[in-house]
């Protein structure tokens, strides 16, 4: 089930340079799973398309969304005040297959603004054999404290100011991390590297993809990605990221 409603903004904070969070009270919270996302509708009337934002955390009927100010829409979000009503649609997409992490060694990888959805996943896999691996630009990190409460955290920073200098793959190599399954969200080069690593190491990787979206519900066919199998909608190996994704088994997609 999916809900589209005006939801109340309970709290909003700046987490680091250009990174903000909002907590919103919504019926979507009770339905949400890790790796799913919501559409947030900007109010300015020249800005018509909703913005896809991952679910970072769910608790007490509230959703926590963490986002980077990118353009017009996210800029507008960052100016919202507590108490304001925000129109959202969700939960959308398939989410991470949490059960695949049960009883196995997992690495949860977030890179850049792909970090947020990893938190709710880490909570869902709490108690399992999990390592979290987060990649940031520099020491201006976010959500790292939240991660530490869930599982051991390894960090990569581009400038080397914290953790391993480089990217998340450098951490895996340097720390010689081993796993049966990877769950990841982040920039395309990182996802490509993970796909390759998974193939070479016989590991299963679930990666969360980004694509431009208009509807978010599978109607417009705007957000497709190439798949190795026939997609369920058009049978042309073009799965909809918003519906069949955003999480795909890495071996299924051509990225």
């Amino acid at each position: 089930m999916q809900i589209c409603e005006e939801a109340k903004l309970i709290e909003t904070n700046k987490l680091s340079d250009g990174i903000f969070e909002m907590y919103i009270k919504t019926r979507v919270a009770s339905l949400a799973k890790p790796g799913q996302f919501v559409m947030v509708y900007p109010k300015d009337s020249a800005t018509l398309l909703p913005r896809p934002i991952s679910i970072c955390e769910v608790s007490d009927g509230e959703l926590r969304l963490v986002y980077r100010v990118q353009g017009k829409g996210t800029k507008e979000f960052s100016l919202y005040k507590e108490g304001e009503m925000v129109k959202i649609l969700g939960p959308l997409g398939n989410g991470f297959p949490v059960e695949e992490g049960k009883g196995k060694r997992s690495i949860l990888i977030g890179g850049g603004i792909g970090v947020p959805p990893i938190l709710e996943l880490a909570k869902a896999l709490k108690g399992e054999d999990v390592t979290i691996l987060a990649g940031y630009r520099n020491s201006d990190m976010f959500l790292d404290e939240d991660f530490k409460k869930q599982a051991p955290l390894e960090v990569a920073t581009e400038d080397g100011s914290v953790g391993v200098k480089g990217n998340v793959m450098d951490v895996i190599r340097e720390k010689n991390l081993k796993c049966d399954v990877i769950f990841a969200c982040g920039p395309m080069p990182m996802l490509r590297a993970i796909k390759k690593y998974a193939e070479e190491n016989g590991v299963t990787a679930y990666i969360s993809l980004e694509e431009r979206m208009a509807c978010g519900v599978g109607a417009c066919l705007g957000c497709v990605c190439k798949t190795t199998h026939k997609d369920s909608h058009s049978h042309v190996n073009n799965a909809r990221v918003c519906t069949e994704g955003p999480v795909f088994e890495a071996s299924e997609v051509e990225i």
Binding site: M1, Q2, C4, Y41, S45, A46, T47, L48, L49, P50, L89, E211, R212, M213, A214, C215, G216, V217, G218, A219, C220, L221, G222, C223, V224, C225, H233, S234, H235, V236, N237, N238, T243
Partner: protein, 300 residues
């Protein structure tokens, strides 16, 4: 109060349908909208065989609207007949199937396959700006339009709506050509070809370079074209282009549209179709209009 309208013998409970390609086959929006409330569901363009569509990026936002270059990805007519028509038949609404193709033969092929199907009308998309072959070429040349309309009319068992492109010098000429060839109705406008450039990456935003523009930004052009067609030909018109509320829909109806379609507005508001239907009724009450047919083309 009567809100029902008739086109080529088919009666619609109200004048509101969905714009092809913005509502899938209704499935995805059926959790937000009771499809039985709609005058009709107009489905995404369907071809003879499955089409891949264009590479991504396929959609982007522009000021007051959006560009899309989906490129008519679709599962082909066979899957459509097996899956989408039975789904829609569960609802108390009319079905308008949007048809696309690369050659006259392909269009005719789809129309033939649909002839035995329980659908109410066919909308022929000769105006998609996002595919290289066919489509818009038929919609930008009156002769070509007349020809394809004739061929389709030969085999069609359901009434035929020709969907016109706004990317022409004189839309009225296209309406006349469609009518002359026997079209039962016309629908307009399809998207206006536009382009967005990413000035930081110094490249086109859309993989296809150009895309079709839709949304509120195009409404004044659409209303004008509906008006021009209504003055030029006496066949029913399905008006669309930027309709996001009842007031917008009424503008089209007053300009001469018998029905209207809600397109990109579904993306900014999943409830848009139903809100348009409700709003039209409220307007009729406020204005003491007992029959919607009185409003059609009332502004001249």
């Amino acid at each position: 109060m009567n809100t029902s309208v008739k086109i080529a013998g088919v009666e619609f409970k109200n004048p509101v349908t969905t714009a092809s390609g913005t509502f899938g086959s209704g499935m995805e929006y059926s959790q937000f909208v009771d499809l039985s409330r709609l005058g009709a569901v107009t489905t995404k363009g369907v071809a003879l065989t499955p089409w891949q569509g264009n590479p991504t990026i396929r959609v982007t936002e522009v000021y007051g609207g959006m560009l899309n270059a989906i490129g008519l990805q679709n599962p082909g007519i066979d899957v459509f007949c097996e899956r989408d028509i039975p789904f829609l038949k569960k609802y108390d609404t009319k079905i308008i199937v949007n048809v696309c193709g690369k050659t006259v033969e392909e269009y005719v092929g789809v129309v033939e396959k649909l002839s035995e199907q329980p659908v109410d009308m066919l909308e022929i998309n000769v105006s998609c700006p996002n595919v290289k072959e066919g489509a818009i070429a038929f919609g930008q040349d009156a002769k070509a339009l007349e020809n394809i309309t004739k061929e389709i009319k030969k085999v069609a068992k359901q009434p035929v709506i020709m969907k016109l492109s706004p990317n022409v010098t004189k839309i009225a000429d296209m309406a006349r050509a469609a009518k002359a060839a026997g079209a039962d109705a016309i629908s307009l406008i399809n998207t206006i070809t536009g382009m967005k450039i990413d000035i930081n990456r110094k490249t086109f935003v859309l993989a296809n370079k150009t895309g079709g523009m839709s949304g509120p930004a195009i409404k004044p052009v659409a209303v004008r074209m509906v008006y021009e067609c209504a003055q030029a030909v006496k066949i029913p018109i399905i008006g669309m282009g930027g309709i996001s509320c009842a007031e917008d829909a009424i503008e089209f109806i007053l300009a001469g549209a018998t029905m209207v379609a809600v397109g990109a507005a579904n993306f900014s508001n999943p409830f848009a179709t139903v809100e348009v239907i409700d709003g039209i009724e409220e307007y009729m009450k406020r204005q003491n209009v007992t029959d919607i047919n009185e409003l059609i083309g009332a502004v001249r």
